[in-house]
Amino acid sequence: MSLLPTSVASDSSIAKNKRTRVIAVLMAAVGLFAIFVFAIGSPANTHSQLTFTPLNLTNAPWHVGTLTVATRWTDLVLGLLMMVLAAEVFFREPRRGVMARFGFVAVLFLLALLFWAARAPGPSPIGYVNVTSFLVGASATTMVLVFGSLSGVMCERAGVVNIAIEGQFIGGAFLGSMIASTTHNFFYAAVAGAVIGGLIGLVLAFFALRYRSDQIIVGIVLVTMLSSLSSYLNLQVFTPFPNFNTGNLAPDLPIPLLSKIPLIGPVFFNQSGFFYLMIVLVGVVSFALFKTRYGLHVRAVGEHPRAAATVGIDVIRVRYINVVLGGAIAGIGGAAFMATQGQFQVGYTSGYGYIALAALIFGRWRPSGAVVASIIFGLSVYLSYELVTYQVPISLYFLEMFPYLITIAVVAGLIGRVRPPAADGQPYMRD
């Protein structure tokens, strides 16, 4: 005898297909936009130049000059590629990887936009796209988002919403700059970031777990407080004593051999220690959450805390630990951000903490998903800054909206099924 609701199951697959098709239509719309605006909108004689400097870190047996492509035809190919992907999703309805395809189309769209923006002759004062420096620049943004969304994974998997990531970024950046300026050592800066981020996490955990306050409100209060506090301290400390905020960029640590791979080398293997730390952390968090006993406890606490409690797991303790660890990760992210900018500036994290939360949702509360989402969002955020120099006739603010638009689409259930941990944000009460 089976009580499995078969009719309901088949119904759910219908609902899923409907959503898959909505995504396909979105992808096709984006593709059509690329074709009609970017490809057909570029005069036939225009072309775009791609440069790759530095291509790698050696002195070049394989130096590539500039690559010149006809803008119209390139964007047409990109647009058609998007359409093909859209058609594949629409007709084949793949069961997995729909989101990844969607992300890929988003990246293709950004590329098409970039080619179009850099077309010559055209309105842009810069007639080329430096692919290497673009990717390196975007990797810095991506890195910060990965730290932030990993922090979110740690907290929300244990059932606590950490909306204070932005505040932890600010704290990490501020203290990180101070420590880096005085010790000239970015390792200490990272430790300082971890400590301050962890402390902010502790405050959040204290109110959320001890007093069962609304986690969103506590988080927002912390962000507001940290941003005001950092402005105040900036005025009181960094302005009169600029030596505490001297402007340091974390040194690049090229990895032998690997850094010499063309394009991949400069983008992935000639980065600061923060970047490598991020990669390690992604692996560690992924492993810890899904392979270990600790991870099983964390996920149980985030899904069904009472069930966890009945088998002797200390729900409150697990949550404290994870919120503090998550805060520390975000704090390191703040220090890492500072290290890519050189010094602390008031307000320059400009909402990265919230974009990281969006990446967490888009990535379905998984470290790997968060990385994919962070890459897409990182590219689009960085592009929105880059495009200013190309004098694109689209407002910067529309481009900045892009990650949020994707997130709204995700949260509204338009793209894929998103299910947060069942006890996410729910206070736990022992009886």
């Binding site: 089976s2 270990t292 006993r293």
Partner: protein
Amino acid sequence: MQLELRGITKRFGSLTANDHISLTVEPGQIHSLLGENGAGKSTLMNVLFGLLSPDEGEILIDGVVTPIHDSGDAVRRGIGMVHQHFMLVPVFTVTENVVLGFEPTKSLDRIDYKRATQEIRELSHRFKLDVDPEATLENLPVGIQQRVEIIKALSHDAELLILDEPTAVLTPQEIEALMEIMRSLAAAGKSILFITHKLKEVKEIADVITVIRLGKVVGTAEPTMSEGELASMMVGRSVNLTVEKTAYDPGETVLEIRDLVVRDDRGLVAVDGVSLDIRAGEVLAVAGVQGNGQTEFVEAIVGMRRVEAGTITLRGVDITNLTPREALDAGLGHIPEDRQRDGLVLSMSVADNLVLNTPRRAPFAKCGTRNFAAINANAERLVHDFDIRTTSIFAPVSSLSGGNQQKVIVARELSRPLEFLVASQPTRGLDVGSIEYVHRQIIEYRNRGNGSLIVTSELDEAYALGDRIAVMYEGKISGVVEPSISRESIGLLMAGSSMAAAGV
């Protein structure tokens, strides 16, 4: 394992939930703890499982005094609990659920799933608890999920199993399977403490019955005693288990439901083409295991949920997709499934709750202001007529017992002119006395020549009230039968068999 409770007392403020309770469970024995909701069964189990600490008394395991401080302690001492609301994580696999908290690990804190799966296979083989260790829990039927709970307890080497109201969510066939499992566990020497308020099950399975009432042991009963005797022990007075009904004499059709389709919150079809007619002077009971679309069905009728397709007609008037207010005005009475969420505003007074659905109507409102004289007079009258036990009509309704809260709703709905009554799980969580009362009210309403639809997951209730019984399975009506049909046949219908297959 032999377990002895000696003089266990637990007080919450002025309330004594357990008053010097003593009982002994022998190895291999199925010991039934029978009592009404609120008699103190759950408190006792929580004491035994280490979730509450007793104010007085001691727990002896195999003759040795053994204090139990927390649930981890209880598990280590060999006490396993099968919770009424499963303590299982829906998105985890069976294996992950079973090992949670007691994981076998390899290096680097990794869980040894291979070993865990192996152990689960052995256990499920040994005790005939068939389950796939790699299945995701939420995809399993409730009966199988319960097996996972049992395996979980056994995997911690439980010698005594506490089953807390284990049959509430099961079909009759699943209950039968559970009884088999309980017998085989007892045969293997495990002790079982079976908590319930269902007399039939106690009589069928128990070796020894301890009856508790108002926190005290009122005695030990033999399984051979009649249901009536057990019930009167449980309630403390003689109980009339059958409801007096006048002869079934249905009139014209009052409510007509045609091809109703309703979606649930996730957008899935929950009610899938239901057609029913309910006539004047009859109670149509809708039976079925919880979660087969009954909730959505009722909500659609009373205007709380959108009807996707199909029609609902009340005395020839189309009432499909009315707003709740329009449904009220059309004369639909509704006793909701979750009385504390949909039936009452807990922080408001008894008097206000009694006019909750007619606040704007004369005489309770006058020129847009509330007429307190009329509201209070109404409350005094209903509190008296419906025997609502409250300290005052101004007391917040949250201060009333569950049974009296339900009486407030019943009084409110039945005291106004109704065309039709829809009641969902009208006696859930109530004590026998209140159940008796609510049943009598519904039957009196029916005897006056009115139609009503009662949704229930208690088969006894469907039999007691229904002039006809419709069985709902996966959003469809799998059959409409007379109450003279056997429980076995209804059970088959509840599990999705066709009328023919169920032998109707």
